[in-house]
Symmetry: C2
Subunit: 304 residues, 2 copies
Amino acid sequence: MEKFELHILGCGSALPTTRHFSTSQVVNLREKLYMIDCGEGTQLQLRKSRLKFSRLNHIFISHLHGDHCFGLPGLISTFGLLGRTADLHIYSPKGLQEIMGPMLSFFCNGLSYQVIFHEFETKQPSVIYEDRSVTVTTIPLKHRIPCCGFLFEEKALPNHIIREMVDFYQVPVYELNRIKNGADYVTPGGEVIPNSRLTRPSDPPKKYAYCSDTIYKKGIVEQIAGVDLLFHEATFAQSEAARAKETYHTTAEQAALIARDAKVKKLIIGHFSARYEDENILLKEASAVFPETILAKETLCVSL
Amino acid sequence: MEKFELHILGCGSALPTTRHFSTSQVVNLREKLYMIDCGEGTQLQLRKSRLKFSRLNHIFISHLHGDHCFGLPGLISTFGLLGRTADLHIYSPKGLQEIMGPMLSFFCNGLSYQVIFHEFETKQPSVIYEDRSVTVTTIPLKHRIPCCGFLFEEKALPNHIIREMVDFYQVPVYELNRIKNGADYVTPGGEVIPNSRLTRPSDPPKKYAYCSDTIYKKGIVEQIAGVDLLFHEATFAQSEAARAKETYHTTAEQAALIARDAKVKKLIIGHFSARYEDENILLKEASAVFPETILAKETLCVSL
């Protein structure tokens, strides 16, 4: 099975605490790393995670609140000190480049690599990144400022060749790639060997959805239906439901309702308000609605 | 004795490691806090230190390298979220306000308090701050960009009244403040009681000098002579003396030579290069020249 892991670097909310860093995560998909959000201290947490800095080329910023992007100048600067040469792509709602530009051009002057900013609209889902392993689509959320989550959809791997059958039919090596990708084999004698006899399907591709920060928004259920893992913010417990609505955040119970309605396989909640010294109250409330819930935690790694 | 403590929040250098945060310290002088430098993650370390955020009104930035100031946006933003109302004063070499301005005006829009930037020249020592407890003077250093250390000089406290003598001479209460400040007492009968019989001197005022980042610069010895505590950067061991010179940093041995020549009471070294997994080599080299040396360490608190 190909690697598809989620690493939590930080899962606190706006106010840092002694237990939580502000938001950042890394998706490790087949040894390529994709960062989601980059709060202050992300580079420290990235180093602790032992993930390889050089495998990270894409950073997705959900929205322009400080606790989701104040770690960028330090990360960019450190990559420069380490002699990075590969381009670094940063995807975000409009404005990030203008806002961070003066800091970056002063402190990261003469970088050994390029930082390339990409802006996305936040009203409609749109594919903002694609490579041979993954497609990343925005999930429009509703927060105090323009904000999107991200849907990571793994691409199907080619089928696995069944070595014994290929040997049996004496399939030439140059035909193997076509067969992996679904073609039938025609023998020199004209016999058609159906692909299904020569290959077994690879593992079904997986999906990860990241939804933070947002008010309880049922509208996202359709887009994230059936994902293998959903990260949803759960800033507050139900007793603070009014406060959640007022500040455009979600309660743990509401996050679980989204997970249940979207029939996801697993829910991980985070973006905890600093007021909770013990997040088990959030876990309890969410699990009552959707039992397959876990709490995010710094250094936690979840395999999909 | 009045409180005069140094809290180390971070003592790494430009590249963060799993063991060190980038540079930041807090001087606690009679329960007023003064921050020196503010690298990424400072607000997290400040919270861990349990020092009271509300007692911090002044931040001194030695120079405009990211590892000495990338923590400012997060700190300023958090103070706002906590509802701070007192002005926050930031002292630095020229340019900080222009560089951070766009980020602050976007992310910290509508702050409940004022951030006031003060610029200082870096060529000559100058008093940049003074209140009734302390005077802060710049210590011109020599780094790749304009850079100053800071000399914190405590102001003398009034003498202590000797209760028994004051009772003996039946000194009226309204005379006590004058006597604390050095006046003699004249009895109703005209007898002059010298101040020295009525008071004991308070503890001699103390001095703390912070010197980072800098190439080995003997010129500072005179200004910091006799301080109670000297923090001096010691980025490298002696084997990297050439690299230290090239990058305008100091070796541990050189830091100790400064301490010895300045006849300081105690030396604390920090700003360790990420290459040292164990800084005891730096301690050993410094101690050989100046035995009263200690290693900086996150969460360390030194009383002067």
